[in-house]
């Protein structure tokens, strides 16, 4: 009952209506303070999303914003709490952000379970154990210049997330006291690795906001490393077909780290057919070195199949481009070529089943289509050569006639 009353009082005190009725003396005073650390909040707050919705300093810090007198403004009797730290930050934000009725007035679609999620995160658990070095709400969202997450200036905007997480996770100094469950040091190379990845290239390079950043795999408020058992599910959130194919494969039972065994985790590079096979730089070779190993045999077969289809597609495409450039109609062949390319994409998907026979079936479909394309292309080239021969013959005849005509005219001239 007491807790409920306290919550009600806090929510009432968070009402923006109260904050709007009088001038905010906190800002007036703090903006002129010589200590930059104390002045910065007052300077940053005017652009803050909370300020724009009518909230003031006292809604988080308590106290009295109506008076320029410091002792009255910082009066504990008026609920002055000063700068919240650690768990107080979570509680301060959660007062509003965990209140569905209050949040409905300002952001009806926004979730209100952030604090509950945070408590389940590695950050939240360590904070509950007394570790004040972990991230809280303000670490990622800022404190006095908070922007909406969809504002590109927000530290939580997708393209800024890696840098935000990297503030702590890329700092060897900050992370030195943290260990992995097996006791080894926590790595600090994640951001650098991520920035080499195909995901980062899509997000930062192509501005594809659906490309994943840290929180898409680790969670944001409930941030935690994905467990080994859920790795395929995490990757499969976007790569559903590959998850389905992989789940039926023999590797699903063997790989301890699922997808990342071949693709890595943070440094997910653009996949390529060169990953497949038994050459030294292939991922298969890292486990399958023995020529009698069924995996070695399977990897060789799959590599050969993919090589067969890719080279056939390239060769047919070059033939059709040449024939088309020579002016022949190749619409049907281009259509068939598209179909063969579809088979190639399907084959690259099928690779994740690690079943050479299943892969071969798709590759054979593709090469069969391409055989027809090549046959038509070769026939068109033959037709073109025939037309050229005819043209040269007719040209020769025309030249002969013209020459004869010229000689005849000359003869006539001599006779006259």
């Amino acid at each position: 009952m007491a807790a409920g009353t306290t919550a009600a009082v806090l929510v009432l005190s968070a009402s923006p209506v109260n904050a709007q009725t009088t001038a905010n003396q906190c800002l007036v005073c703090h903006a002129s303070l010589p200590d930059a650390a104390l002045a910065a909040p007052a300077k940053a707050f005017p652009g803050d999303v909370h300020q724009q919705r009518g909230f003031g300093c006292v809604d988080c810090h308590g106290g009295n914003a109506a008076t320029p007198d410091k002792s009255q403004a910082h009066n504990a009797a008026r609920g002055y709490r000063g700068k919240p730290r650690g768990p107080q930050i979570i509680a301060t934000c959660a007062r509003c952000h965990s209140d569905p009725e209050l949040m409905h007035k300002f952001a009806p679609r926004q979730r209100v379970d952030q604090a509950a999620e945070y408590a389940s995160s590695v950050h939240g658990k360590r904070l509950a154990e007394g570790d004040l070095g972990v991230a809280t709400c303000v670490t990622c969202h800022g404190a006095h210049g908070v922007r909406l997450v969809n504002d590109a200036r927000s530290p939580a905007f997708p393209t800024n997330v890696a840098a935000t997480c990297g503030t702590c996770h890329s700092s060897a100094e900050h992370m030195k006291s943290y260990k992995l469950p097996n006791g080894s040091p926590l790595p600090t190379s994640q951001r650098a690795e991520y920035e080499r990845s195909v995901h980062y290239a899509a997000l930062a390079g192509q501005r594809d906001m659906s490309a994943p950043t840290c929180n898409d795999c680790h969670g944001n408020h409930g941030a935690a490393p994905p467990g080994v058992s859920s790795l395929t599910t995490v990757c499969g959130t976007c790569h559903t077909v590959f998850q389905t194919k992989f789940a039926t494969s023999v590797h699903a039972q063997i790989f301890e780290k699922a997808c990342i065994e071949c693709h890595s985790n943070h440094a997910v590079l653009a996949p390529s057919d060169r990953m497949l096979g038994t050459a030294k730089d292939t991922v298969c070779a890292s486990c399958h070195e023995d020529k009698d190993d069924p995996g070695f045999v399977g990897a060789t077969k799959m590599h050969d199949s993919m090589e067969r289809l890719t080279s056939a597609v390239d060769s047919s495409a070059a033939l059709i481009a040449r024939v088309k450039n020579d002016g022949m109609e190749v619409g049907d062949q281009e259509l068939a070529l598209n179909e063969a390319r579809t088979k190639l994409v399907l084959a690259r998907t099928e690779v994740h089943m690690f079943d050479p026979a299943a892969l071969d079936a798709i590759v054979n479909d593709g090469t069969k289509i391409l055989a027809g394309v090549d046959q038509a292309g070769t026939k068109a080239l033959g037709e073109l050569a025939y037309r050229r021969r005819g043209l040269f013959v007719s040209l020769g005849v025309i030249l002969l006639v013209v020459t004869a005509l010229a000689l005849k005219i000359k003869d006539l001239g001599k006779e006259q």
């Binding site: 594809d208 976007c238 790569h239 559903t240 077909v241 088309k324 450039n325 020579d326 002016g327 190749v330 619409g331 049907d332 281009e334 259509l335 598209n338 179909e339 390319r341 579809t342 994409v345 399907l346 998907t349 050229r388 043209l391 040209l395 025309i398 013209v402 010229a406 005219i409 001239g413």
Partner: protein, 144 residues
């Protein structure tokens, strides 16, 4: 003598120039034929995709639209819609999925609604929509 010589030179010059012009007029098209300019095929503007009676409600039909595949769909409501059937993700050919009444790409499980908009999966853009008209029983699909 001098007059006849001048006339002959004049006629020879006229004939020579005419001969060279004739050779050029013949040779130029031959040259252009043997080494044609690199130019794309003009995009197909209109094709008869199917007979309307062939396309049952809640079904789709892939047809040739120039050098690209097109997809003609008759929605469960009986409306005819046509799209460029090339998935906007990696150019696979899409197909109609009657169980979900959606357009589906088998390569990476991309799905589009019956307006061509992306519903789920990796496609970055909607499918290109084509215009459908009926001429008797013929379904005429065009780009504009």
């Amino acid at each position: 003598m001098s007059s006849a010589f001048n006339r002959r030179r004049f006629l020879d010059a006229i004939l020579g120039a005419g001969f060279i012009s004739t050779i050029a007029a013949v040779a130029y098209p031959v040259w252009r034929y043997l080494i044609p300019p690199v130019s794309g095929e003009p995009a197909t503007q209109s094709v008869v995709a199917a007979q309307a009676s062939q396309v049952k409600p809640n079904s789709g039909l892939v047809f040739k639209f120039g050098s690209k595949p097109g997809l003609l769909v008759r929605t469960p409501d009986g409306e005819l819609q046509a799209f460029n059937a090339v998935c906007t993700h990696l150019d696979c050919t899409v197909q109609y999925k009657p169980d979900t009444s959606q357009i589906w790409c088998a390569c990476h499980n991309g799905t589009y609604d019956l307006q061509g908009n992306v519903v789920s999966g990796p496609p970055p853009r909607p499918l290109e929509r084509l215009v459908v008209n009926q001429r008797g029983d013929e379904v005429v699909v065009s780009r504009t």
